[in-house]
């Protein structure tokens, strides 16, 4: 603590990683890929009762270029999978993904020819939320897990 003692009050020393990750995790702007019924729960999660903007996700940016978290909510068909992947590719790094609901995680109750059995077949998912549809509290829990992941597992060195 020699440096801090020498500098006196009004100064704080930290690592760049901690500072940047603190900023990133508390301002996670989601890109809602609201496909089906989980999309309605995602709207409720952004709504007045389970307000997610108090966690920093103030705006739901529908533009992939301005967001850093993609929440895939609902079952993804083979036809839609290409569009979802294109949007994922358009998001700038660093980016994370939540597979919300049983249908996005594993195909859910829809075990048929049209539905991709889990978006992790073509997207790198960071958090899976179970439920059909999951309560908004569960999605907030997933968001908090992503915030933990950013704080502990991410580093500015990866950005280079």
């Amino acid at each position: 603590m020699g440096l801090e003692a020498a500098l006196g009050d009004g100064y704080l020393t930290t690592r760049i990683d901690t500072l940047v990750n603190w900023g990133r995790s508390n301002a996670v702007w989601p890109m809602p890929m609201g496909l089906a019924c989980c999309g309605i729960e995602m709207m409720a999660f952004a709504g007045p009762k389970y307000d997610v903007s108090r966690f920093g996700s103030e705006v739901f940016r529908f533009s992939p270029r301005q967001s850093d978290l993609m929440i895939v909510a609902g079952w993804c068909t083979f036809k839609m999978a290409h569009a979802v992947r294109r949007i994922w590719d358009q998001m700038p790094d660093p980016k994370w993904c939540i597979a919300m609901g049983a249908c996005a995680s594993t195909g859910g109750m829809h075990r048929s020819y049209g539905v991709v059995q889990g978006v992790d077949n073509f997207l790198p998912v960071d958090a899976y939320v179970s439920g059909c549809p999951p309560r908004p509290d569960a999605v907030i829990h997933a968001l908090m897990n992503i915030q933990e992941k950013i704080k502990t597992q991410h580093s500015v060195l990866l950005d280079a």
């Binding site: 036809k79 999978a81 049209g114 991709v116 073509f122």
Partner: protein
Amino acid sequence: MSLPEFFQNLTLDLKNKFSAAIQDISDYQGDVLITVSLDSIINVLTFLKNEHRFIYLCDMVAADRFTSEDRFEVIYNIISLKSQKRLFIKTRCSEENPTLPTSTSIWPAANWHEREAFDMFGIQFEGHPDMRRLFLPEDFDYYPLRKEFPLLGIPGSLPLPSTTPDSKA
């Protein structure tokens, strides 16, 4: 059987005009279903629309009977708003030649219903202005709702996107 009066008059009228084409008339729990032969289906439907004012096409159902003859059947669900009655007309077609004449000239609402029947069963409609698949992409080669198509699909029939992004895009 004891049909309500409106339907008794209607079936008498139909039998007078198209005696050979009407194959069967059944009534289950209030739903009156009339089976018509394939070659006179358009005449029967036009007659019902013009003379008996069945102007609203509610739905078209295609089904697979999985029999060796007359495999597919199509059921028209039509409503007469003037008399406040609903009627079902059924017709059948074979597997070798699953073609029906289009009813888009009678009711333009049949457009997407016929596309859906084509998409799911492969039933062609002659004279349809836009015969394409409705739900599945054109690259898909199968007709999913036929009984021999497996529920989980055929692996590889619908490709997944590649996980390595294209460098040119």
